[in-house]
């Protein structure tokens, strides 16, 4: 991957409640040289991770077993940590305030994830 160097060491929080998808993102991030924070499959777990762990950005499932991810999105926004959504719902489930964040439509390729992480990293600077 051409971007792998650019994303090297990027600490990415992964929040995803489907185990296979979670493992997939984890694998992709590993291939891209990123450091995975998590993965978390539940909101309380994810919020705790976000508050006590150093992280640069996040890839968030919009819906965790019927529970919206938005409280975590607000915390990350407050922390200045950019994030992207990974969803099977389209962007119909997003709040107006979250419309600016990149959205990864499941299923997505590793290249799509790399591009989105590049955007998140750019927002960090």
């Amino acid at each position: 991957m051409s971007e792998s160097g650019a994303l090297q060491g990027l600490r990415v929080l992964v929040v995803e409640d489907e185990m296979m998808v979670s493992m997939l993102i984890e694998d992709m991030l590993g291939d891209l040289g990123c450091t995975v924070v998590g993965p978390a499959s539940r909101l309380d777990e994810a919020i705790e991770l976000a508050s006590r762990t150093e992280l640069d950005c996040a890839v968030l499932d919009v819906n965790l077993g019927g529970q919206p991810i938005f409280p975590l999105a607000d915390i990350l926004r407050a922390k200045g940590a950019p994030f992207a959504f990974a969803t099977g719902y389209g962007d119909a489930g997003l709040r107006e305030v979250d419309r600016g964040s990149p959205v990864l439509q499941k299923p997505f390729r590793e290249g799509d994830l790399a591009r989105v992480l590049g955007e998140l990293k750019a927002a960090l600077v």
């Binding site: 409640d17 489907e18 185990m19 296979m20 998808v21 979670s22 493992m23 997939l24 694998d27 993965p39 978390a40 499959s41 539940r42 819906n63 077993g65 019927g66 969803t87 099977g88 719902y89 389209g90 119909a92 439509q105 499941k106 299923p107 997505f108």
Partner: protein, 667 residues
């Protein structure tokens, strides 16, 4: 006798003879005149036609006066002034006047036609009044030669001048003064004659008029009977006190009664005895007040069946406002009533409310069902303003705009909106309407339509929308899952053939779990079914034979779809591992699955133990493979529990400790 009284010395003298001769001539003359007058009187007395009487007068006048010609001119006033029309002529052919214009009110003729009196002239051509009028200044060329002239007006009793009698002679001095008196009498006679004839004619005209009127009346009665018997309604006439004196044929045909049976008050026998008292009461009220009667009531037909009739009775009044008769009509509305009942039934069955709007007055009429759609009782007042106010504020603008557009353009009104009922409940209503009447300016004068409560449909649509969205989500997640399986299987596989086997087997496991869920409409799946699905094909081990798989579970557990998919994949990995490397790979190995629910602290947990025995010796792998990662990390993470793999030398052991909250369907 005067002649006998003459002096005797004169009796034989020439003078006497001469006088006698003169007296005889005079006598003869008198006799002739008397005869003429008698004939005139007789002609007048006979009456007859006007022409004949006037001719007799003119002829008699010529005889009396010794004139060469006589004529009667009729007074005719037209738009060019008075003119005189020749009516009768004596002593000359009518053609003698044919080429001349009729005489006008010239100085000569005027006194006659104005009825001023007799004109007599010994030589009219010497008269100072003669020849003063253009264009002829005298008699026109070719006119009958008139020197002696005698004219008298003919005046009716009313004073109207009917015309004039004119006599002429080619020699001068033919008419004596004495004739004026005779002519005056003759004029009067002529007037009487004409008057009489006119009276006769008027009387005859009156008789004729009366005869015609009577004929017309008979005619109109015939026409009335024809109409009354032909129209499809029953009709009748009653006296002011209500006694019915006439029914049309339809009444007798429909009721099968005879005049004797129903005239007067017998008609009551055609009524339904249950309704009759009300009919009688209202009919009596109309008779008392003089107000028209209107009611729908049943009448019995010849077949014994009662059919509804719309009935209206109107009073006919004379010039003083007194009622002279009542005219009643009964219209059979059985067909309309049946149609209306069918329509009402259809509306009821379809839960369709109906409404009508007067566009100009905004008067709004809603059926009971329509009112119910807006949360109103049948007896509640529900105006157009109430309707608009009931519509959800977010939809109100859209509704008023749609109705204004329909009114302006005559287009169909078709809208779905939310209504907020008086009890605060929000419902969905579908309203449709169309112009029922077009106004002069081309827009809509009245609108009519239906309304339907579509709340259930709207909820179903919303459910369907959510379902489709959910389905899309599930498909996308499944594709991502397959992507993950492919990627991780590829990473672990030493070659293409093994990759293909492993990938297909995992894909089949996922598909079979989906089948179980689909059987339950994706509401959930049974734990026992998932275990059986993965283990039954391998129950005989790699070499087949008796079952080497046992399940110890007091009761089954219903899993939510997410947990079912995760556990299905987990069990698949365990079973595959056992078949390849574990207890089921040897001839004597056993797999035991124990499942139990325990109550721990605040929550119930599922403890599921997978224990292998009798297989090859087991050692902990140096690198965690896909199965190990899926079980210890994936499954534990997704189901918020703990999963522990124990590589006991006697056999692999997997213990799952999962909160029931994460496993059971929401419900």
């Amino acid at each position: 006798m005067s002649i006998g009284g003459l002096a005797p010395d004169l009796a034989n003298t020439d003078e006497f003879r001469a006088r006698l001769a003169a007296a005889e001539i005079a006598l003869a003359e008198e006799t002739r005149r008397a005869d003429a007058l008698n004939r005139i009187a007789a002609a007048i007395g006979r009456g007859g036609d006007l022409e004949g009487v006037v001719q007799a007068v003119v002829d008699g006048g010529v005889e009396l006066t010794g004139a060469a010609f006589g004529a009667f001119f009729y007074n005719l006033v037209d738009d060019k002034g008075a003119r005189y029309t020749l009516y009768s002529l004596s002593g000359a052919a009518r053609s003698a006047f044919a080429s001349y214009p009729m005489p006008r009110a010239t100085a000569i003729f005027e006194p006659t036609f104005l009825g001023l009196g007799i004109i007599r002239s010994d030589d009219i051509t010497q008269d100072p009044r003669y020849g003063r009028s253009a264009p002829y200044h005298g008699m026109p060329p070719g006119h009958l030669p008139v020197r002696s002239y005698l004219a008298a007006p003919v005046k009716a009793r009313s004073g109207e001048v009917l015309g004039g009698l004119f006599f002429g002679h080619p020699e001068p001095g033919r008419f004596s003064e004495r004739l004026e008196l005779l002519l005056e009498g003759l004029g009067a006679q002529a007037a009487v004659a004409i008057d009489n004839v006119r009276l006769n004619r008027d009387a005859r005209q009156e008789l004729e008029d009366r005869r015609r009127a009577e004929a017309a009346l008979v005619d109109s009665e015939k026409r009335f009977d024809l109409v009354a018997d032909t129209i499809p309604m029953l009709c009748w006439i009653a006296k002011p006190d209500g006694e019915i004196v006439w029914f049309n044929r339809r009444w007798y045909e429909y009721t099968g009664s005879t005049p004797d049976q129903t005239l007067g008050w017998g008609w009551r026998s055609a009524h339904d005895p249950k309704i009759l008292p009300e009919v009688t009461r209202r009919w009596a009220a109309s008779l008392a007040s003089g107000e028209p009667f209107e009611m729908v009531f049943p009448l019995r037909g010849t077949d014994g069946l009662y059919r509804p009739f719309f009935t209206r009775v109107e009073p006919t009044v004379d010039e003083n406002g007194e009622i002279i008769r009542w005219f009643g009509v009964n219209v059979n509305i059985a067909a309309e009533t049946a149609n209306r009942e069918r329509l009402m039934f259809a509306l009821q069955a379809g839960r369709l409310g109906s409404w009508e709007l007067d566009v100009e007055t905004r008067e709004y009429e809603a059926s009971d069902l329509c009112k119910a759609n807006y949360g109103r009782r049948a007896d509640e007042v529900f105006t157009f303003d109430d309707l608009v106010a009931t519509i959800h504020s977010d939809d109100r603008g859209r509704m008023t705009q749609a109705i204004e557009t329909a009114i302006r353009t005559g287009a169909e009104y078709d809208i779905e909106y939310r209504v907020v009922l008086p009890d605060g409940d929000t419902r969905w209503v579908h309203a449709r309407g169309r112009a029922a009447q077009t106004a002069d300016h081309g827009g809509v004068r009245r609108m009519a339509g239906v309304s339907l409560d579509i709340t259930e449909r709207k909820l179903a649509e919303e459910r369907q929308r959510l379902l489709l969205n959910e389905l899309n989500h599930r498909v996308k997640n499944t594709l991502a899952t397959v992507q993950s399986i492919a990627r991780q299987t590829l990473r672990a596989a030493p070659n293409g053939a093994l990759y293909r086997d492993a990938f297909e087997s995992r894909l089949m496991a996922l598909s079979k779990t989906h089948n179980l869920l689909t059987d339950q409409k994706w509401a959930g799946a049974s734990l026992h079914a998932i275990l059986a699905m993965e283990l039954t094909p391998h129950a005989g081990g790699r070499e087949g034979g008796g079952s080497r798989f046992s399940l110890e579970s007091a009761r089954d557990i219903r899993l939510n779809p997410k947990a079912a998919v995760a556990l299905g994949m987990a069990v698949h990995e365990l079973a595959t591992n056992a078949l390849k490397y574990g207890a089921l790979s040897s001839s004597a190995g056993q797999v035991t699955v124990k499942a139990r629910v325990v109550d721990a602290e605040a929550e119930r947990r599922l403890i599921l133990e997978w224990t292998e025995s009798g297989g090859p010796s087991v050692a902990k792998p140096t690198r965690r493979g896909f199965g190990g990662r899926l079980l210890e990390q994936g499954l534990a993470g997704e189901l918020a529990g703990e999963v522990r793999l124990t590589y006991d030398p006697g056999g692999l052991c997997c213990t799952m400790d999962l909160p029931m909250d994460a496993l059971e369907p929401d419900e």
